[in-house]
Each structure stands twice: as C-alpha cells, then as structure tokens.
Amino acid sequence: MMSSKLFTPSDKSLKIPARLDQLWRASAFVGDMAAVAGFQGVQLNQIELAVDEACCNIVQHAYAHRPNGEIDIRVQAERGRRIVITLVDTGEPFDPQAVPVHDPATSPDDLKSGGLGLFLIRRIMDDVQFEFNLPGLGLNQPKRFNRLTMIKYL
C-alpha cells in the first residue's frame, strides 16, 4: 500500500515578465517542481520544453502589442502521480483552432513551420486545455484573463 505522503501535493507559483529573456525562469521553476513530482530524464526535459513553448506563445502572440505583460505560473506537483501547470496571462485571447496543425507525416517539401510549438505541447502533455477571456475574480484582478492548463501523468 502506498503511503499517503506519496500524494501530498506541493503547490507553488511564480510570476515573470512576459519577455523571451525571462522564459528560462519559467522552465527552470516548472522543471524543479516536475522533479518533486517524480519526473526525470527525458520526461523532465520535455515538460520544460512544453512550458517554454507555451510561454513563448504568450509573449509572441498574447502580448505581441503589450510589452509590459506578465505570466502567472502555478504548478501543483503531486508526488508519484502527476504535475498540473497553469499559465495565466491578460493578453489578447489566442485561438488554438486558428493555428495550422503540424502533421509529421507531411512530405518534407510541403511542410510549413507553423504550429510546431502547439504540436509539441500537445504531444508532450497528457491533457491541454485553453480557456480565453475568462472574467476576473476580484477588485484588484484584471477584467479578463486567459488560462492554459497542462497536465502530465507519471
């Protein structure tokens, strides 16, 4: 029988300026939490890659016209079970349906470069959910925000 400690969640958050030169902080933070959950090796690298791709999308698309945006990163590490990563931004809503779908089976000369980041996120994580234009919850909260939730199971 597994000890109850095994499933004790560890919950932490980090806020970073939405700039490309800050994304390493997001990846490192989530990587540390993923290690707490029990991920290692290739899976650990891949989770960091998924976070890098997701944050990069936020910087380059959601905040394309807003240089002072921020990304809120919340991570719940459930040891021996899974990691839940939530990214919140207040930039422009982004429609994942509008992004071209990368298909690895496409002939090399017909391959387009769009959609690679989203493809990697979906390929690496077990559950990916985009929510846009959600209403803010309090007086000091932004009126609207976007939320990306990514879950990976061990």
Binding site: L23, C56, S113, L120
Partner: protein
C-alpha cells in the same frame, strides 16, 4: 540556465560548404544568431551547410522553424543542409515532430563532411 548559444562558422575552401558548430540552447532567445549565419552562408552561395549539433543541448520550435526555413532556402538553390551528431534530448524533439525524416542526419560529423564533399563536387 540563462539561454545562450554559440555559433562557430567555418567555410571549407573549394567545396562550397560552410560548417556551423552550435553549442548551448537554440530557442526563441537565441535563434536569431543561427538565422543570421545561415543567411550569410547562403548569400555567399555555399551549396552545402553542415550543422554540427554535438554540443547543442536544447532545441525549441523556434529553432526547428529556422532550420526548416534554412533547408527550404538551400534546396531552392539546389543545395542541402546536413545535420550531424544530435544529442539525445535534441534527437528526441526531432523525432516528435517528424524532422528525422525531413533532414539528412548523420551520426558523426565525419560522415556529414564526406557527404558534403560528394554533394558539392569537391571530394
């Protein structure tokens, strides 16, 4: 883990070949460095570009996009990009997106250089 990339570029005289040696991380922060040297090599008219990835630890979709564009530009001019010595974390990403079937990839850079010499007619 602050992102950094080193790109060393070397032209092989008489072979219309440029060798690029990448070290570090190829991501959205660093990708413009590779973009610049790839463009330079192609403007010089080099038909074959060998990219040594033996010291590259990380690649994101931003890096993959520039490599794909570089390949496309090279092929429009009858040239080619050869990749060699991919480390496991980088190879893993190439496999996920299907790029192992898109690029000509050699296990060693010696093999890539032999293929470059044959392709450029210099060896």
């Amino acid at each position: 883990m602050i992102s950094s990339l080193s790109v060393i570029s070397q032209r092989i005289e008489g072979q219309s070949t440029t060798v690029l040696k990448l070290a570090g991380r190829l991501d959205a922060t660093t990708v413009s460095q590779l973009e610049r040297v790839l463009t330079d090599a192609q403007l010089l008219g080099d038909r074959v570009i060998v990219i040594d990835l033996s010291q590259l630890n990380y690649v994101s979709s931003s890096g993959l996009r520039v490599l794909l564009t570089g390949r496309s530009n090279a092929r429009k001019r009858g040239g080619e990009i050869f990749l060699c010595s991919l480390r496991p974390p980088v190879r893993e990403v190439f496999e996920m997106v299907g790029f192992t079937a898109v690029f000509t990839i050699f296990d060693t850079c010696e093999q890539a250089m032999e293929a470059a010499a044959a392709a450029s007619g210099g060896g």
